[in-house]
Symmetry: C2
Subunit: 122 residues, 2 copies
């Protein structure tokens, strides 16, 4: 099978439409410390966005399969968008859409999280 043929078989990952996204879903996805940190970094926009780039967030490396599940939860709750880019997957936050639907929500969460980080570092 040629490369050109294969391109049509790439199954896209599931993403909820904006009106399928719920507050509970967002809160649940971000209630896990690892997912909250991943999302905060993606929303900040200053990091490499593939999955394995987040392997060493804490003291112990997060297993690949666990990380994949975390990204799935973030994606299916509507917080991020994931697109294939060659071998890796490119993840971006859906902040702009989300802020239209739930004004101030994401901002408040991210802000609270960074405030908390700052005060625990001292």
């Amino acid at each position: 099978m040629s490369r050109a043929d294969r391109i049509f078989l790439m199954k896209p990952l599931f993403h909820p439409s904006i009106d399928e996204i719920t507050v509970e879903g967002i809160l649940f996805a971000l209630s896990d410390p690892v997912r909250l940190e991943i999302f905060a970094k993606l929303a900040g926009g200053d990091t490499v966005s593939n999955c394995l780039a987040f392997q060493n967030l804490g003291d112990r490396p997060i297993p690949k399969s666990t990380l994949s599940q975390h990204f799935k939860v973030l994606r299916e709750s509507g917080l991020i968008r994931s697109e294939r880019r060659g071998v890796e997957i490119h993840n971006t936050s859906r902040c702009k859409e989300l802020d239209k639907k739930f004004p101030g929500l994401i901002t408040a969460i991210i802000h609270s999280f960074s405030k908390q980080r700052k005060s625990s570092k001292k």
Copy 2:
């Protein structure tokens, strides 16, 4: 045992101090639809605040023990304060304290939730 003696045995319920409260804890507590609804009502301040008053939120009545667990989660995450008042327990939200620690967070969550409710009712 006399009533006067018994009063000293009343063990107060555990409440985290304001600086033990975490964003993840808040998000987790409110990621459950039942807890989110209970908290929204308490924060709104327009409802009777004992535990059993929330028994019939959905279509099926929530079992007493489940409801008790939900209140425990809300309490231990720092979202509500529970005090004995005779046989019942009086629950109030800790919104004011919380807003000092995480400005805008609770407001944004409650607002998003009520917006969601409105749009689903149509």
